[in-house]
């Protein structure tokens, strides 16, 4: 049964005219975004253009771009899939991802905009010894972004093999490589300006795609949500428990702890994600940064409400076996839903499938570009210009370094992307959130609000949080020892949880405090006065 329907799906993708349609839609998006990129590239003259898009975007534009950056393959494919397979437990992702924005809104976005310039490291290192803190900030920026990239690459591989019927490993790697090359082009040519426009286009497409599917699901159930839920519960074979907490995480005390760990990572991770933080530099003032967050909360909130309809809709209309047969982690539930809503045997099904997949592909490309920009900016501005060249690099040299770093990061993510195919992309992104919450958030908050905080504290916190989070993931079932691990054939795991947040986040905060209290370093009071006044008033911000 399951393999039969899986083949129907592949056949729908393989039928030549539909395949042509899919490839055409992809090509149109790629061509349009490349045009934008070239146009933006021509206007990218100095470092502020490349890193911060010239700081001329409005709050609304940036809010749209922030949502574009945030609603990644994890949100669209991963959450819909998690809800389709595990019902209510998949919903936690949506809630955590959304509530997390309040941390960014209340504590981080405006001070960051006021006191930093291009990177997260600008704020972390503001009143500290520049070289060690910038090195640490650069390292954690790159690690967080690569975790996140891994998830997007996994999504791209899954999507394309589903759509184009490419099942050979070479074919999938070819697609991942194509994504990698495109993102290198977007970032090296278009910089922040091009990337921001690409995010906006993508956010609009994604919202339209999700609205369309949500509308079709609701029409199918005559706008009766209770019916939709009831049918999802019946069709899942799990009954009422499908709508209750616990299906994925309720099995044992350990999985419950994992759920708590995930919840913490989600809610504290957003405000430490470098690719989100640097978006606040693209607007002229802190007030505009605040407006971007408010817009983002509205757009992202509505989008996550729609993922409920998508996930439960997929659960109601598609047999769970079929979802699992298509992708073990459920990542293809949303495109499958499109196919079923249009009609598996009708042309409409294939058209809808192609459209939604093109949207998902656009999503991945845009997010990947944002992530690459964040890491190459941090490499060039924090590590190359301020550490290697000790602040004496010319702007031209610095931007050259950023472009080369883009190529390097693109290559790394292509290599890693091939390893992560069967992991749920939402789960993978949650790891990036855990690392961000452990390594970045403590130092951001301490730097801004704790007078006594010192360089030693910052280093302890960043490296301690980073090493703890990444180390625990390495020895978790995500990497080895499980059916869906990255390396299922070996087992060197000893940490029982998939998400390290519950340990690594407190460790990050604690080490920041301990490092500060143990060091004999006297905090630079003048620098703190500067940072505090600037971060709250915007004096000297540009």
């Amino acid at each position: 049964m399951s393999t039969v329907t899986h083949h129907t799906l592949l056949a729908a993708g393989e039928a030549s005219e539909h395949r042509t349609l899919i490839v055409t839609l992809f090509a149109v998006f790629v061509a349009a975004t490349l045009l934008i990129t070239v146009w933006a590239g021509r206007q990218t003259k100095d470092a502020a253009d490349f890193y911060a898009g010239g700081r001329q975007f409005t709050g609304f534009q940036n809010g749209l771009a922030v949502s574009g950056d945030y609603m990644s393959a994890a949100s669209f494919l991963g959450i819909a899939g998690a809800i389709a397979l595990f019902g209510y437990d998949g919903f936690l992702y949506s809630i955590g991802f959304l509530v997390a924005w309040l941390v960014a809104l209340l504590l981080v976005a405006e001070p960051l905009r006021n006191s930093g310039r291009y990177t997260m490291g600008d704020v972390l290192a503001y009143r500290m010894r520049q070289r060690p803190v910038r090195t640490a900030a650069g390292a954690s920026t790159i690690v967080v972004s690569i975790f996140y990239l891994l998830a997007q690459m996994a999504g791209a591989g899954v999507l394309v093999s589903l759509l184009l019927g490419i099942t050979s490993d070479m074919g999938k790697i070819g697609i991942v490589a194509l994504v990698g090359v495109l993102m290198i082009v977007y970032v090296t040519i278009g910089g922040m300006k091009g990337t921001t426009w690409v995010q906006m286009v993508k956010a609009v497409l994604l919202m339209i795609g999700a609205l369309l599917l949500t509308f079709l699901v609701l029409v199918k159930f005559h706008f009766n949500v209770s019916d939709l839920l009831g049918r999802a519960a019946d069709n899942s074979g799990k009954g009422a428990s499908f709508l209750e907490p616990g299906l994925k995480y309720g099995a044992t005390g350990t999985t419950k702890l994992d759920f708590l760990s995930l919840g913490l990572a989600l809610v504290l991770g957003t405000a430490g994600l470098p690719h989100i933080l640097i978006r606040f530099y693209t607007v002229p003032t802190a007030k505009a940064a605040r407006k971007s967050v408010i817009w983002a909360i509205g757009l992202i909130g509505v989008f996550y409400l729609m993922t409920l309809a998508l996930g439960f809709g997929a659960a109601a209309l598609i047999k769970p076996d079929e979802i699992i047969a298509s992708n073990k982690a459920g990542n293809t539930a949303a495109p499958l839903l499109a196919l079923h809503l249009g009609g598996v045997d009708s042309g409409w099904g294939a058209v809808l499938l192609a459209t939604i997949s093109a949207v998902a592909f656009a999503t991945i490309l845009a997010v990947v570009a944002g992530l690459t920009l964040a890491s190459s900016s941090s490499f060039a501005h924090d590590i190359y210009a301020n550490v290697i060249k000790k602040g004496r690099a010319t702007e031209r040299q610095e931007l050259g370094a950023a472009r080369w770093a883009t190529v390097g990061i693109g290559a790394v993510s292509i290599l890693l992307g091939a390893l992560a195919r069967d992991l749920n992309v939402a789960g993978l992104v949650a790891l990036a959130f855990a690392v961000a919450a452990s390594a970045n958030l403590p130092t951001i908050l301490y730097s801004l609000f704790w007078k006594r905080f010192t360089t030693a504290g910052a280093l302890w916190s960043i490296y301690g949080g980073l090493v703890t989070a990444v180390g625990l993931v390495l020895f978790s079932p995500v990497v080895s020892g499980g059916r869906t691990s990255m390396f299922p054939d070996v087992d060197f795991h000893w940490f029982p949880l998939e998400n390290p947040g519950i340990i690594s986040i407190p460790v990050g905060f604690l080490l920041g405090a301990v490092g500060t209290l143990l060091s004999k370093e006297v905090p630079d009071a003048g620098k703190y006065a500067e940072l505090e006044v600037r971060s709250l008033t915007g004096t000297g911000a540009h």
Binding site: I95, G246, L260, K287, I297, V522, K527, T539
Partner: protein, 118 residues
């Protein structure tokens, strides 16, 4: 101890001196701005994180309660989940209002005085 590179500053526009910053930081006016921000943002952050964790803990350890039907197939878990959305929207709106009324005018006054004093 000392920083090795100068802090970010607008090219061409000199930043106020450290002494000026320190003086403003110690001033009553800035103290009010800081208090207006912290007394709003800090407790609210603790509150929404506690409310979110309560929801996560209830999901984990109170499945009986969370599974209680409210209307049709809609149960308490779903209602509380949607309530998280609602509170997030409300807090965002509330902060925007607070910032416009209590933070922006004070910040603007200090900023224009400091930059105008050059």
């Amino acid at each position: 101890m000392a920083t090795e590179t100068p802090p970010p500053a607008t090219p061409g526009v000199p930043l106020p001196t450290t002494e000026e910053f320190t003086e403003v930081q110690q001033s009553a006016e800035f103290g009010e701005l800081r208090r207006a921000h912290r007394s709003f943002a800090f407790p609210l952050t603790l509150a929404f994180i506690a409310w979110y964790l309560l929801y996560v803990l209830l999901s984990n350890y109170a499945d009986g309660f969370m599974g209680t039907r409210v209307v049709g197939n809609v149960n308490v878990a779903l209602v509380l989940g949607l309530a998280q959305f609602l509170t997030t929207f409300l807090i965002a709106w509330w902060y925007a209002r607070h910032a416009a009324a209590k933070l922006d005018p004070r910040a603007k006054a200090i900023k224009s005085r400091m930059e105008g004093a050059e």
